[in-house]
């Protein structure tokens, strides 16, 4: 957990010299002085002026606390505010033990989307979005007194990195080793503190494992994650049990709320643009989560990582340069990662079907109907819909693993 009584800055600030000049500070001013001065100068919108990739926790006068994320950030902030107090962490694992899983979030993961604002994995645990800044009042009672999230337009026009030598991407496309992948899934799920739902996560894990240098420079431009073309339930009816089926309308509601937000932002947009909803959603919510997951994987193997595109100017340039069609590449691999002919002990499809006999503890039991005749129907569609079938197997298996060992339950 992060200490809420002291100022915390994690990450990097990339326009320090400009800020010192703007705020008329001493050349040797510390980050603490700089952050406090920036807040005094610009108030809750101060993260628009601070370029970089960071989280800030800033105690204020009168028992208030400010928490914020940079406009584009590979860091995350999770909090729980209830009768027991205010708990803040930059890692979801702090809230994992004995957590109650939000069924809606599993639904969202099943559609191939990442989890973002308003719908996180654990009930009662919220997450800050990139560019969000909140102020909490601790006494006389705990309440949220200010909550402001930068619009995508504000993020794109926020302060950008001071010019520096661009680093060369050193995360090469290492060979994916499918035989090792099955037994890497539990580790990956524990690193992410969420079920493995996208196959790029597994790919990236192996890239980091095979990497020999301590610093990773990720210069890959944003790749928009595609939702799945067919739902799992349409591939094998009755696979999802009632709690998941019931929440599908809620998922549609979330999407319509987000679409309304997109329309409102678009109405206020003062520059000509061809932004579509998918790109807006990706840049506003999903990109940061993807980066954060990559950061968690790198950190697990004691490697530092930086993201070249974690900069407003670069994202803006990327957005203006390439037609939307060219950016909309899928992150799901084209070729299957797993084979039906793998030995049964490391065969992801067999293992998913075995959930019925083994594992299969409260959470998965209530969500999935993995009886062999039903799950076999899904697996038989692997040649046509490989990434969907594989994603479902990964998700159900790792959800069961996490739920079993961290004692999760369902609402």
């Amino acid at each position: 957990m992060l200490n809420t009584n002291t100022i915390t800055f994690k990450g990097k600030l990339t326009n320090k010299q400009i800020l010192i000049e703007q705020l008329d500070l001493d050349k040797e001013a510390t980050i603490t002085v700089l952050i406090e001065s920036a807040y005094q100068q610009w108030g809750a919108l101060f993260n628009q002026h601070l370029a970089g990739d960071y989280i800030i926790v800033l105690p204020l006068a009168e028992r208030q606390l400010l928490v914020c994320l940079s406009p584009f950030s590979s860091h995350q902030l999770f909090y729980r505010a209830d009768d027991n107090g205010f708990f803040l962490s930059d890692n979801l694992s702090c809230f994992s033990q004995g957590a109650t899983v939000n069924t809606l979030s599993i639904n969202q993961l099943l559609t191939g989307r990442t989890l973002y604002q308003g719908n996180h994995l654990f009930d009662g645990v919220s997450m800050l979005t990139n560019g969000q800044c909140q102020i909490w009042q601790f006494s006389p009672r705990l309440e949220l007194v200010s909550d402001h999230t930068l619009t995508l337009q504000q993020k794109l026009n926020s302060a950008s990195n001071q010019s520096s030598e661009p680093l060369v991407d050193n995360i090469a496309n290492e060979t994916f080793i499918p035989t090792q992948a099955f037994n890497q899934l539990p580790t990956l799920a524990r690193i992410l503190t969420e079920p493995v739902s996208a196959l790029w996560q597994l790919n990236f894990l192996q890239q980091v494992q095979q990497h020999t240098q301590p610093d990773l420079h990720c210069q890959q431009p944003p790749i928009i994650m595609q939702g799945v073309s067919k739902t799992i339930n349409s591939l094998s009816a009755s696979l999802l049990k009632r709690p998941l089926m019931r929440r599908q309308s809620a998922l549609t509601q979330i999407n319509s709320v987000l679409y309304d937000q997109f329309q409102r932002e678009l109405d206020d947009w003062y520059e000509p643009n061809t932004l579509d909803f998918k790109t807006w959603l990706y840049l506003s919510y999903e990109l940061g989560v993807q980066w954060a997951q990559k950061r968690l994987i790198a950190q697990h193997y004691d490697k530092a990582i930086d993201f070249g595109f974690c900069d407003s100017a670069k994202i803006k340039h990327w957005l203006n340069q390439a037609p939307v069609e060219q950016q909309s590449l899928t992150t799901q691999p084209v070729n299957p990662l797993f084979s039906l002919s793998d030995d049964s002990i490391v065969n992801i499809f067999d293992a998913m079907q075995r959930l019925m006999y083994h594992g299969y503890k409260p959470v998965t039991e209530k969500l999935f109907n993995i009886v062999p005749p039903i799950s076999a129907k899904l697996i038989k569609q692997h040649p046509k819909h490989s990434s969907q079938v594989e994603s479902f197997c990964c998700l159900s298996l790792t959800l069961d693993h996490l739920a079993r060992h961290a004692n999760w339950s369902l609402i």
Binding site: N183, Q184, L185, S341, D343, S344, I345, N347, P373
Partner: protein, 312 residues
Amino acid sequence: MEKLTFLARDGEMLAYDDYQLGNDRPIVIFLHGSTYNARRYANLAKKLNGDNYGACLLNWRGHGGSQGRVGSVDYIGQLEDDLADFIHHLKTVTHQDLIITGHSAGAIICLRYINKYGCNDIAGVSFIAPAINGPLETVRYPHASASWQYRLSYFRASKPVLPVPPNILQYAPSLNSLAFFGAKLLPFLRHRTILTFPASERMAKLEGRVLNYSYNLMLSCDINDYPAAFNKITVPTLLLCGANDEVVHPQLLSTIFNWHLPPSIVKEIIELENVNHIQVNNAAVKLVPLWLNRHFASSTEQTVSESETVAC
């Protein structure tokens, strides 16, 4: 070494080779593999003694010097009850930590013990080439009938079952399928031989091996719900196996290690190149004491030094 006995809950006297040292270090309770007895594992006990660990090599009932029906047990699960009785017996005479260890089917008895009794009375467990033969996926060389078993389990066609290499086949026990299904249906047949291990009768007699197993005995040293059993482990755990093991699938221990052992426990996995199911015992003689030194020696020494500080 002393040859001692203890009283099991059914009144039978079960034998063990006692290598206790009378110091404060943990005692390793070792369970032999199927057909064998404690005598074969004396090297491990001697090496453990050399590293100042006590050891007790337990003979399964009906094996070695233990009483009991040869080649059968009264009910499925009696062997883990015997282990529980032995642990209870040791707890009444010593305060030292107890580590349970087993080779092959002996490792499965340790696992069944944990599944039934938990880890409250033990401080650690090591599994040497655990022979989990019940489930379809854990077997290294599936039986010819595996294809239809696979179809029944998964509702899909399996990949072709490859023939077992002849050099492996000569050591593999032969199962009388008819007798097996007969015993499954008719309980009064469950003491009859259904499994026969290949070995020279004369050599087996000299070594005190038991070559014929009943339905009850065969199922007492096997486990189907192994994931749940491994989930229950709460103490430091060692998984040890040879890459050329003829019984254990080469990926089994890695799968158990990653998927089924709780992430929170202290656990180690050691896979040895060019080592088979029997040769792994020679490696265990070196590796088990080293594992104990890594996880138990320091805590004992720390306890001693702390108590010395208090005494000062």
